[in-house]
Amino acid sequence: MNVHYPWHEQLQRNPELSFTTFFGEPVVLHCHHFNLFLDQTIEDPPYVPGRRILFQNAYEASLCLLKQVKETLHFADPGEAIKGFLDLLKFLGLGTFEVVEPLRPDRGRVRGMGHYTRGWMDKYAGKARRDRGVEYFVRGFLAAGVDVAFDLEPGHTRVQETQSPITGEDVVELTIQTPDVHPLPLRECIGLGDWGNLEGRQVPQTGVAPPFDVDAFTTSLSEIADQLAGNEQGLIEGFHVYITRHLVRYYNGISADFYLYLYQHNRDMVSIAEDLLQESGHVCVFHTFGNMLADPGIQSLAGGLPTREHYVFATAAIGRALGFGDWEVAQLEPGALLDLQTSQEYEGCQFRLLQGARDLPLFFMPGAAAAAMNLAYLSDLPEGSILTHEEYNRLMMGERGAPFHGRTVRGCLKGDAYTLVRAERSGPS
């Protein structure tokens, strides 16, 4: 029997700065395109401990969340805590799992289907091959869940993915391993960190007049976003993508750890890695935002999107509604250039706190800016259309002219008072 908790009550949105917390941990809405491409990029190079990076950050991020959940909800016993955590996983759109062997400190198994697996099967089955599953985050979540539920010393439990539809089995199976292992080296929980602290932050007035009431549009979209939750399959299906309400801590941790490892050990690969990390953002915004922009219901919330410039401003509004920060269009040269600015975006200042790192580039926001321009000026978005992966490939291969690419111009990690990213064409239009 599933236990249902009032998870929505724990979502807190800051409408001014456009971020959302869940039990005090910042969360954002991202689709399976982003989740898969990002994890894949980190896992790909055999000379980087990518799998370790993914699991460890999944554990850390989940530990920070689940400690708060347990403290808030006062579960009666470890069994109830585990049930609660599995229900939470479902709410977040990360999948649904049932206990097939009771979870204890040293053993246990769950089976089901996860967001990452479902997304991979839809996107890549028959086109790519893997010899292992993709549920790194849920593995870390479950491991942290066992440690929190049973009040174990953090970092001991390990979880392996012992079955996956990706490798030919019917379901995802996750197995608890013995806790008698050296604990993971864990970093502190930072919660919201600097986000919301505007000391030293100053975003210039843009002087750009949106072509429609962007604030009202953002508010309407935010109301939709805040209601999103996993269905009975633990999936959030909308706009032809699978969506997750996911932990900012996880995204920042894996991106920063991966980039910094390459910077220290394989510096000639850093540029390629940056391109691919940015592409995660680009492919996400293209599919998710693009399908939203083509949706008649969404278009009606804006009072219609009759011009390409409307699409650009609408993209910024969607970014705010999904919790990425207070994006706004600072400069738009139609068909040529977009400057997108924000007081704080979820990547930059969090990176600094987590890693003590400087000069890390942004990945998601530059990719998003590029996608905004590619959607507006290189794609046809008739009402009701569905943006397919084939269309995406045609666009990115230059069949509609040189695509836009993004870069960071100003950022909190560089010591700037605000963040600005720019999207420009990579070649002749």
């Binding site: 491409f37 894949q40 990029t41 790909d44 190079p45 055999p46 000379y47 980087v48 401990p49 799998r51 370790r52 699991f55 460890q56 040293d106 053993r107 996107k123 890549y124 028959g126 086109k127 790519a128 091959r129 893997r130 010899d131 292992r132 599953g133 390990r158 392996q160 993915e161 012992t162 079955q163 996956s164 490798t167 197995t175 391993q177 013995t178 008698d180 292992v181 050296h182 993971l184 080296p185 394989n266 000639d268 690969m269 390629i272 890695a273 391109d275 691919l276 592409e279 992966h389 490939n393 990115m396 291969m397």
Partner: protein, 193 residues
Amino acid sequence: MEPMFWVLIDDEGLILLQDQQPTHLDAEFLATTIYMGYISMRQAMEGELQTQIQEIILPTSQHLIMIRPLPGETLLVVLFPEDTALGTARLGMKRLWSQLEPRLQQLLSSMKPSLGAEHSTVIPSRDSVREKWESLRSMILERAPDPAFVFKRLALRTGIPEQRLISGDLSAEELHRLESHARTILGLSPNAS
């Protein structure tokens, strides 16, 4: 001779067990570094020489390091003082193993193997490298699920700079690696054309 330090690493580079003696070493860094080096060496041994590593002995300026692959894709790494004779180190390793074995067997038997096959090997082509690469490039572009980014992915996976993938300036070993990774990305079996 007792080892200075030992650590057991899993198939993701995470530490499973370690010697609890105080040490100035950063065990996590050591584990990650050794693990990554072992993975690269194993690829080379299995890919090029079709042979399995049973043990690695690594004399350095400060330590004599012995690395032993174990079942379950785990790795035992043991450090001795640098002036330890090889025979003495082997005896020390044997003694350590007999002390650890019951604990290790219990640990390894309780760990169901995670998914993750051995790296597949591809027999290098006889064609010239550049000609073969052009042919492979065409196939990749035709079949890749993300053609706009597949060469960046291949560059990242192989460590070969993207410029050389474009120019085709590759060694036979690099071509072999590219072919192997391309087959994985494209979902092709090792022997499919």
